[in-house]
Amino acid sequence: MAEKLLKKGNEAIALAAIRYGADGYFGYPITPQSEVMETLMEEMPWETTGMVVLQAESETSSINMLYGGACCGKKVMTSSSSPGISLMCEGMSYMAGAELPCLVVDVIRGGPGLGTIQPAQGDYFQAVKGGGHGDYKIIVLAPASVQEMYDFVGLGFDLAFKYRNPVMILSDGAIGQMMEKVELREPVRRLTNQEIAEKYGHWATLGKPASRNGNIISSLSLAASEMEAINLRLQAKYQKMRENEVRFEKNMCEDAEYMLVAFGSSARICEGTLEKARSKGIRMGLLRPITLFPFPEKAIQEMLSQLKGIMSVELNAGQMVEDVRLAVNGAVPVEFYGRMGGSLFSPEEVFEAFAKKFNL
């Protein structure tokens, strides 16, 4: 069995990056995720796997470094926290538009503005509805443990390359800063330049061999009809993601009459609420979306016939609840409980809110 280490979520991201064969990390310090780059710098992967680690001059630059690296068919990633992610909105839209794979980790802190450095989930909309301009989608993975922080780096890269699309790990200060047991998986080695040329040479900018014309990575198309065609292609791709990539976890849902929907650290806390409810004889279940886009709407819909009510529990003012409501489409009451600005709720507090909303 692989060694079990005690690591912060942020550290796990860094260790996973090296072990999943990332080619490049480009980032800029910001609390509560600076340990990602710090751990990478400490590990010096450029001396072992050859991975490049670079502190950029800003988040704007970081995301555009990803753009360049992704153009070359390399596995590139960055990490940041809320304000830094906002500075990446233009770049994310470009990468989605140019169909480039990359991994962006957002360790959310309380907003808006400079806000606070405490954990929050207030960037759900930004991640899922698109902070940048235009119709684009990125795959959003929401880990609820340090092990998932580690594992989703691998999953994230796989999905990014499968769809040639940015993937985001949407975490928060609680999971980034928390230490837990983490099992390091079997390392995956970096692709050689030769392998990259074979796999991605038909689109990536690797230097044009005599056998083909120059590859061009661009999100520009002055003719509206061409741009529309590009958008249709993108939408078809997003539809494929909806069909194939939905991930979620159901907890005690078999006989549930009430269901909490929560992701990431909220879901973690809601596990406690679940225990509490069950101990009181309330048939509660918990659905934890792992992919926030694509959203597990079918999984919710399949539950509707047995449910009396749903409560979305989030560390924000009510964001994912809109996707829950869109899935439910009026079939059962959907309530919301949340806290904001870096304040966490306890399992008990969630239970009380739940009991109140549903008069139990």
Binding site: L6, M178, K181, I269, E271, L274, L344
Partner: protein, 181 residues
């Protein structure tokens, strides 16, 4: 078994690393653990605290409303965490710098003069290990040799020569902890 513990004091007292050693020790006994800091004020000084949970089963919420044990190393932390200890739980504190002593009667209150002791024994760097020893004496949830293993895992190799000193400090803490009546 499930132990929910908060350790709190000034930044620089080794609160976070004490929690880390405990958590690693839990892993040595193949338990589930979480370690959750009151993380970095992007800001200097002030207090620091960490929540450690050690359990036989999967841990749901890594944050606590109440705790089994509070280890308290300054006045602010006393004010904040004394009320959080569950009835029948443990409050362990170092009286150094404490002006208002604990008042609750429904919990077990212990004291360890760790600052004083570690200073006198000229191992002020192992101050937090003295506290750890005191805690382990009162709550023997982990075997001492697993704690030493946890200590080893959480210290970078280059500091492994300090382990004997830390072990001594733990023992000192075990010996000197007192129940306050």
């Amino acid at each position: 078994m499930k132990e929910e513990l908060i350790i709190a004091g000034f930044g620089g007292q080794g609160v976070l690393s004490m929690g880390k050693i405990l958590a690693y020790s839990g892993i040595m006994e193949d338990k589930e653990v979480t370690w959750m800091p009151s993380y970095g004020p992007e800001m200097r000084g002030g207090t620091a605290n960490v929540t450690v949970i050690i359990s036989d089963k999967r841990i749901s919420s890594p944050i606590l409303q109440w705790c089994d044990t509070a280890i308290v190393l300054n006045q602010q932390s006393m004010d904040k965490f004394e009320p959080m200890v569950k009835k029948g739980g443990l409050l362990l504190y170092d009286p150094n710098g404490i002006s208002r002593h604990p008042v609750r009667k429904d919990i077990k209150v212990c004291s360890i003069a760790a600052a004083d002791l570690s200073n006198r024994m000229e191992m002020s760097k192992a101050f937090n290990m003295v506290v750890l020893g005191a805690y382990l004496k009162m709550k023997p949830i982990l075997q001492k040799d697993n704690v030493i293993k946890g200590l080893k895992k959480s210290l970078p190799e280059r500091y492994h020569d300090l382990i004997p000193m830390n072990e001594k400090a733990i023992e000192l803490g075990m010996k000197e902890v007192k129940e306050v009546i």
